[in-house]
């Protein structure tokens, strides 16, 4: 398959994720949509890496996976903290980080 197919597919997945971030309100689903966007970026990186014939884009994608794992840990920690303090699980009502 041509590289452009992969890039267009990755753009489509990125946009689905962006639409989810903009419309959904549960922070859990917003985090899932962020994962979608990061994965779309990974797909584009690997497609370009194949196009150029070297593995450097794959290293970049590997680092993105690491960063995504860190982001998930912190995000889920914040959601668990919100739940324990009985705050509403809704991103629209979250407008301060303090207590």
């Amino acid at each position: 398959m041509d590289t452009s197919w992969y890039v267009v597919l990755s753009a489509f997945i990125f946009c689905i994720g962006a639409a989810g971030v903009m419309t959904r309100r549960s922070p859990l689903v917003v985090l899932l949509c962020l994962e979608l966007m990061l994965n779309a970026g990974n797909l584009a990186l690997i497609a370009f890496s194949r196009m150029l014939g070297n593995e450097e884009g794959q290293i970049f994608a590997l680092i993105v996976i690491v960063v995504a794992a860190c982001e998930v840990v912190i995000g889920l920690g914040i959601i668990v903290g919100m739940f324990r303090r009985r705050l509403p699980i809704d991103v629209d009502q979250m407008n301060e980080l303090r207590g």
Partner: protein
């Protein structure tokens, strides 16, 4: 090459269906399961692009470890069966999908209209070593040693931060009590 095309379209539809499922399913638990489908379909695409090690890492790290974390948190927070588009959503509900569509059109036009000559082909022929754990490890420990070490520090920081965020604090039962050691 026909086999490759069939596999691309199957995995591509799987990835798109999984992504749509994440956004459109009401129950967060089903959203997580849709994301697992999406990640496995993406791993197939990675294999088609000859990124063998990354496909394995995707399945083990993402679809395995990270998604288990999500499932635990969804089970802990409970089934907040939220409505997909709340009535008081305002402008964001109407313009969110439109803005996403605009981004898609923009990226597609930018990619198709660009003069990158490599976009029309499959890329150069590569040997069997391309994308193998050996090649990735070689690059990580020579040319990309500093990003590798930075990633390990980032993981350490995230682990410490998760412990700090999740530890038991005194005064949590009584929410009105002053908390001196927050954070």
């Amino acid at each position: 090459m026909l086999f490759e095309q069939i596999l691309f379209f199957l995995a591509g539809f799987g990835a798109i269906a999984g992504a749509l499922g994440v956004v459109m399913l009401r129950n967060p638990f089903f959203s997580v399961l849709a994301l697992v489908t999406h990640l496995i379909a993406l791993a197939v695409l990675f294999l088609l692009l000859r990124a063998d090690f990354l496909a394995a890492a995707q399945v083990v790290v993402y679809a395995g470890a990270v998604m288990v974390l999500y499932v635990f948190v969804v089970a802990y927070v409970g089934d907040s069966d939220t409505p997909l588009r709340p009535a008081d959503g305002g402008l964001m509900n109407a313009f969110g999908p439109l803005a996403a569509l605009a981004i898609f059109v923009e990226i597609t036009v930018a990619v198709v209209g660009s003069s990158l000559s490599g976009l029309g082909g499959r890329g150069p022929e590569v040997d069997a070593r391309y994308g193998s754990p050996e090649a990735i490890g070689d690059l990580l420990l020579t040319k990309f040693l500093i990003p590798f070490e930075a990633a390990s520090f980032l993981l350490l920081l995230a682990a410490v931060a998760a412990v700090v965020l999740a530890r038991k604090r005194r005064g949590l039962e009584d929410l009105d009590a002053p908390r001196e050691a927050t954070g």
